[in-house]
């Protein structure tokens, strides 16, 4: 297991290195300059680029960037030389992560609850309503849901704030918009796997042993039914924790997604790279944790690793 973990970490670092390299050169291929705006004269742009070393050979710039990254230095933002890229991340990530974490919790609780209800309910109408609701929730793209929620609850009913993240109430709409899809997915996964689990022999045995229906569902069947959910929720949480570009823009949330879009529009090379490296690291880390968690929870996978080692 330790060897497997080490290997996964090394692969992760290698992917990160490839990601930096590819992004570095791709970003430079896009036409434009961080200092080019509608009304800035060409000679001024050139003078400033020279000042920031952007006229040096690309490979030299690449080497110095990699050197900086190894020392934990992601450089300054070209848009605003007073701000370091690490400061932007330190400022924006907690915002994104808090919205993402809240959305994750909401979708897990809601999804699991509805999934169980749909699997154990004897009434067909309950199943149909949950499944139809899930289809709709999974089918509406995040941005459409965000705009709809905003129009209904802020603009028309004036119940909830439309923009910013100034108080806990401001979390409600963006979290709702973000958790719609994952909640629907979790609910479908839980309901279908739980239904299969409930037909298995060990459930019958547990019932025969005299355990209550509720106890059988929660302590035995749900645990097994949860494995695919963990496999799904791993990558999903990676995407929630790195920010939704669209939802952050619609609700004017000062998070990573909004910074990322802004940095690309402004050709803020160092900021684009810094954010890519950071988001890449988060995704790689979360996937690693998911894999390890699955191996830990699932004896079959765990055995597979042991055999591999032998």
């Amino acid at each position: 297991m330790a060897r497997y973990t080490c290997r996964r970490i090394l692969t992760g670092l290698l992917s990160l290195f490839v990601l930096i390299t590819v992004t570095f050169f791709l970003v430079r291929i896009i036409p434009g300059s961080p200092f080019q705006r509608g009304g800035v004269s060409e000679s001024v742009v050139e003078a400033i680029e020279q000042e920031y070393g952007l006229n040096e050979p690309l490979f030299t710039q690449y080497l110095s960037y990699i050197g900086g990254v190894l020392h934990g230095d992601l450089g300054i933002s070209y848009q605003d030389p007073a701000v370091r890229v690490t400061e932007v991340i330190a400022r924006a990530w907690p915002v994104t992560a808090s919205v993402g974490a809240a959305a994750l919790i909401v979708s897990l609780i809601l999804g699991t609850g509805l999934g169980i209800l749909s699997a154990v309910s004897g009434r067909r109408s309950v199943k149909q309503v949950i499944s139809a609701g899930g289809m709709i929730a999974a089918g509406i793209p995040g941005f459409a849901a965000a705009i709809l929620l905003m129009l209904v609850f802020s603009v028309k009913l004036k119940l909830l704030p439309a923009s910013g993240l100034l108080s806990p109430v401001h979390y409600i709409l963006p979290v709702a918009a973000l958790s719609l899809y994952p909640a629907a997915m979790v609910s479908r996964l839980v309901s279908s796997t739980l239904e299969t689990e409930l037909t298995k022999d060990y459930v019958l045995f547990a019932r025969a042993k005299g355990l209550g229906r509720r106890q059988v569902i929660f302590t035995h069947a749900l645990k097994n039914a949860y494995l695919p959910v963990i496999n799904y929720i791993g990558p999903a949480s990676a995407s929630l924790l790195t920010g939704s570009f669209v939802v952050e823009s619609i609700f004017t949330i000062p998070g990573l997604g909004r910074e990322f879009v802004g940095s690309i529009t402004n050709r803020d090379y160092t900021l684009i790279l810094g954010l890519t490296v950071f988001m890449g690291a988060v995704v790689i880390l979360v996937n690693l944790i998911t894999d390890l968690l699955c191996a830990w929870l699932d004896p079959k996978t765990r055995r597979a690793y042991r055999e591999e080692r032998a």
Partner: protein
């Protein structure tokens, strides 16, 4: 065992969700109760707030309320003295002396002196500062050489003979010099704190001092900044508001929604659909922008090097129809100089004082095209039109394509580009036809006419016309207003109505929503944007 693990995971996750929002909402919504305060929605946070730095929208929002330039012009074209109380100029317009207001104070109570103006100028002339406006200092003696590292900084033609006298020595006569003074590079920055672009002084309320009606109270990156009334302002009695909060938005729809939800009092530069939604309501506040949208034709590309072809294309476009389709916030334009730019000496609009450079005429356009060797568009090569992927430009491109196809039988290939990529193509001259938009930097037609001079960096289409260069250069130094206006009209007629170097399309309006309780909002004549220094509420 597994149950415990699941429980632990859930508890941890719950704990995270409780702790994280707690630390993130540490910046509570600004409290405005019992005070005269307004909230203004502005486009997202970009650039610094240092007048000598790399500035964009944030500075423009900040400076109109917080910084006093030497002097500016009001809506009637009269001089509005701000940091200066008088000025003198020598006969050939090469030496300009400004006498500063001795009662002007920074927001910490210290006097505003000539050194503070020099501070911005000298820092802006160092390319490291990233100022995109540095070239507007080049009329000053040696400024360009200093910027390019060819002269010593102390050879600059600006001197502070005492704390309250500022003298500019210009390399050549410049009759529109007073108009340049509203630009950031001529705006003061407190010499005591404003040192370099990297120090971050401009976002720190302790060091970012203001010499205007409002001072920086709080700055929260990407969310909002708050300006409080500057009690030391020399004209503080005229300032009614206690506080202005600027909130950043990424998208105009989000801005309009925030206005509708009552979260902001002013939302500017909204899309034209808002105009239809709010038609007839008090909230709607439509202003004229001092801007022209036009198309550059690359003169190095055949057959655009033929003036008959350029004229044909110009005459074949129906701008009335175009504007009807693009949106009610546009109006047909037939000039390079913005439709709503005023001629200060007459008080009227500059373009209205001369004949329209050309009249649309499809019949004549067809004849011209035939004369140029392309009857009914036969044999005419396919030209590519490059434009940014903004909605307005996309619609415009399709209408122009359709009109040229129907009226002249020529085919235009459309190529939408991301905004920055479009700037790049344009600067590199890598286009047949390219969309251009110019919002006035200062309130003088020179800001437009100088763009087409052969040495201008905005001249991207290879225009090289010695006669035009001569006319525009003369207008820069002609001190008689009537003679100067005549030179400029002749230059415009030559470029737009005889040589047809560009295809003017339309002028634009800015669609704003303003809470009807807010009064006293003014429009800055040079750019058309809104100013809140003397606004009031309730």
């Amino acid at each position: 065992m597994k149950k415990r693990i699941t429980a632990v995971i859930l508890i941890l996750a719950l704990a995270c969700s409780c702790v994280l929002p707690g630390c993130v909402t540490a910046d509570p919504a600004p409290e405005n109760a019992g005070r005269k305060a307004i909230t203004v929605a502005v486009s997202s946070d970009t650039g610094s707030m240092d007048p000598a730095g790399s500035i964009a929208l944030t500075y423009l929002a900040y400076s109109v309320s917080a910084l006093d330039e030497l002097l500016t012009f009001d809506e009637e074209g009269e001089i509005d003295y701000r940091a200066a109380e008088s000025y003198e100029v020598n006969e050939d317009s090469t030496e300009w002396t400004f006498h500063l207001r001795e009662d002007a104070r920074w927001s910490d109570g210290t006097p505003v002196t000539a050194a503070d103006f020099l501070n911005t100028i000298t820092r802006a002339l160092d390319p490291a500062s990233g100022s995109g406006y540095a070239n507007y200092l080049f009329p000053i003696e040696n400024a360009e050489a200093i910027y390019n590292g060819e002269a010593e900084p102390d050879s600059l033609g600006v001197e502070a003979s005492d704390d309250y006298t500022l003298v500019f020595h210009l390399a050549e006569p410049c009759v529109y010099f007073l108009d340049l003074l509203r630009l950031p590079v001529y705006t003061p920055s407190c010499a005591k704190y404003a040192d370099s672009a990297e120090s971050g002084w401009d976002r720190d309320p302790g060091t970012s001092l203001a010499n205007g009606p409002f001072r920086l109270e709080k700055y929260v990156p990407d969310q909002y900044f708050i300006l409080e009334k500057n009690e030391y302002y020399w004209n503080a009695d005229a300032v009614k508001l206690d506080r202005i909060t600027y909130r950043f938005f990424d998208d105009t729809q989000a801005m309009a929604n925030a206005y509708e939800a009552g979260e902001v009092d002013v939302a500017t530069s909204l899309s034209s659909t808002v105009m239809e939604m709010y038609e007839g309501q008090e909230d709607l506040f439509v202003t004229d922008l001092i801007a022209t949208r036009y198309i550059y034709m690359n003169l190095n590309v055949e057959p655009l090097d033929d003036v008959r072809v350029r004229e044909a294309v110009n005459l074949a476009i129906n701008r009335e129809d175009l504007c009807t389709i693009v949106g009610s916030d546009t109006e047909p334009a037939y000039n390079l100089v913005a439709k709503y730019m005023k001629d200060r000496n007459t008080g009227g609009y500059f373009v209205d004082e001369a004949e329209q450079p050309f009249e649309e005429n499809v019949e004549r356009a067809r004849e011209l095209l035939a004369e140029a060797g392309y009857p009914d568009g036969e044999g005419f090569p396919e030209l590519t039109y490059k434009y940014p992927t903004l909605e307005m430009d996309s619609v415009t491109a399709q209408v122009v394509q359709e009109q040229l196809k129907n009226n002249l039988g020529i085919t235009i290939r459309l190529e939408a580009q991301e905004l920055q990529a479009n700037y790049s193509s344009r600067h590199a001259g890598d286009f047949d036809l390219c969309r251009m938009n110019w919002t006035a930097d200062f309130a003088d037609p020179y800001t437009y006419l100088s763009m087409l001079m052969s040495n201008s960096t905005y001249n991207c289409s290879g225009i090289c016309d010695p006669q035009y260069d001569e006319l525009v250069a003369q207008s820069g130094s002609e001190s008689d207003p009537a003679a100067r206006a005549d030179l400029m009209h002749r230059a415009e007629q030559l470029a737009v109505g005889e040589q047809f170097y560009i295809i003017p399309l339309y002028a634009m309006k800015s669609v704003n929503l303003v809470n009807p309780e807010v009064t006293g909002i003014r429009q800055i004549p040079a750019s058309g944007s809104l100013e809140y220094r003397y606004a009031d509420i309730g």
